[in-house]
């Protein structure tokens, strides 16, 4: 019983929860805002890059593929640290939130380019021919015929990727972004109690569990059409 009380006191302490609730909710808003920024810019850039790749220009494709490969291979934390600690020494000082946003945005752009490109290449070539034969331009064909089909194929794998990359927002705590984990961490050291961490964890699950469930439903509808 003693152990149990201690456990509750340490991880589920109502007083502490009450006191630090506002601080941690502040972190929640930062996480949500940063998450939206990352998702919107990452997915948009990814689709843009995939569209550029359809032009089939070598000078364009090589840098795109290079960018995609590098950001798929590098650990996000390594990218964040290089940008956060390196750029100030060459005279570029970015707020830590911007560093987090650009790093994760670039990673998501790389992964979503790959997913969109896979979607585009799996649309049968006959679709291009049919569309061009009706007099539509290359751009019209891409936007009205190819991309709608590609996006449909891309949605399930893209959702999974987006979720797992957005979860890296917690890495912001390592460079002082006051998102949920950062806030919970400082509350933990101020209160000498682990309850703020429980609250932070709870909020993360609150944000991501619905997304995971949504991705499951999507997958069921598309029957694991990911690859």
């Amino acid at each position: 019983m003693e152990t149990w009380n201690r456990f509750v006191f340490t991880f589920f302490n109502a007083d502490i929860a009450w006191r630090y609730w506002p601080t941690i909710v502040e972190g929640l808003w930062v996480t949500i805002a940063a998450g939206l920024l990352v998702v919107v810019t990452g997915v948009t850039c990814g689709m843009l890059l995939a569209s550029l790749r359809t032009l089939g220009i070598r000078a364009l494709n090589i840098p795109i593929i290079l960018f995609v490969d590098i950001f798929r291979a590098l650990p996000p934390l390594a990218i964040i640290l290089v940008i956060f600690f390196g750029l100030p020494n060459v005279g570029i000082v970015l707020p830590s939130l911007v560093v987090l946003w650009t790093s994760l945005g670039a990673v998501l752009a790389a992964f979503s380019e790959e997913v969109f490109w896979a979607g585009i290449t799996s649309v049968p070539p006959g679709q291009w021919m049919a569309s061009r034969s009706t007099g539509m331009t290359f751009g019209q064909t891409l936007f009205h015929v190819i991309l709608p089909q590609a996006v449909k194929l891309a949605i399930p794998p893209l959702t999974n990727r987006t979720i797992s990359i957005t979860k890296n927002l917690a890495l912001g705590s390592a460079i002082g972004v006051n998102e949920i984990l950062g806030q919970a961490n400082s509350a933990l050291s101020m209160s000498s109690n682990a309850t703020p961490l429980t609250m932070g964890a709870f909020l993360y699950v609150l944000v991501f569990a619905p997304l995971i469930l949504a991705s499951r439903m999507l997958e069921r509808r598309y029957q694991w059409g990911g690859h």
Binding site: R72, A73, P75, L77, A78, T121, L169, T198, R216
Partner: protein
């Protein structure tokens, strides 16, 4: 331009910190050598539970998979590493991250294997059972190999994710590659050690990324 090279590609600095980086690399390699096999084993176990015919096993497992998929691994690490000591227990950093990575990897690998098993047609089981093979033999020789083959790109890609995940150990001061590089950076006031570490990650993971792209386009 000089400033950029001085800051990011300073070979003198890189040479000076190389022993530190190498020690970190070895630590990372050891971490991967332990985490990848237990992650895959955990994934297979999770898949067996999640595809079990007993509801009482299946549903809690699927719930756990979704829970750990929606839990940022860093939060898990911090929770184990910083939270548990308040109970009066000492948790070594290595144990904390191992537990966190095991839970995370089991969930992701489990989900991938589950999708793989689902992709094997039912007729395969019937054919195998009709020749007298037991359920275990059927799994081992017929359905599981096909499942692995069908989700090979996902398995490889999750393995890469796991290698990348080991960098999180730096947050709790495990002296792995990224942590050593960051330490070297703070000692030299120069970012070249970080670039060196990033270069090592690229060197190892880039070929794998290429292989996955190839496999994905071939399977499609």
């Amino acid at each position: 331009m000089d400033m950029l090279i001085q800051e990011f590609f300073n070979f003198q600095v890189m040479a000076r910190v190389w022993p530190m980086i190498l020690a970190g690399l070895i630590q990372t390699a050891l971490l991967c050598a332990v985490l990848i096999p237990i992650g895959i084993a955990g994934g297979i176990g999770t898949m067996l539970l999640a595809t079990s015919s007993h509801r009482a096993l299946r549903w809690p497992t699927i719930l756990a998979i979704d829970f750990f998929r929606s839990f940022p691994p860093l939060v898990l690490i911090i929770f184990v590493y910083a939270g548990i000591p308040f109970l009066g227990l000492q948790v070594p950093a290595l144990a904390a991250i191992s537990v966190a990575f095991f839970l995370n990897a089991s969930a992701y690998f489990g989900e991938i294997f589950r999708a793989g098993m689902k992709s094997v047609p039912k007729g395969q089981v019937e054919a195998a059972r009709s020749t007298g093979m037991t359920a275990g033999q059927t799994f081992l020789y017929v359905t599981f190999p096909q499942a692995v083959r069908n989700v090979l790109p996902d398995l490889l890609s999750n393995t890469i994710e796991l290698v990348k995940l080991t960098t999180l150990a730096s947050v709790v001061s495990v002296p792995e590659l990224l942590h050593s590089a960051d330490l070297a950076r703070s000692l030299t006031y120069n970012s070249s050690p970080l670039i060196l570490a990033a270069g090592i990650y690229l060197l190892v993971l880039w070929p794998l990324v290429r292989i996955i792209s190839r496999l994905e386009h071939r399977l499609r």
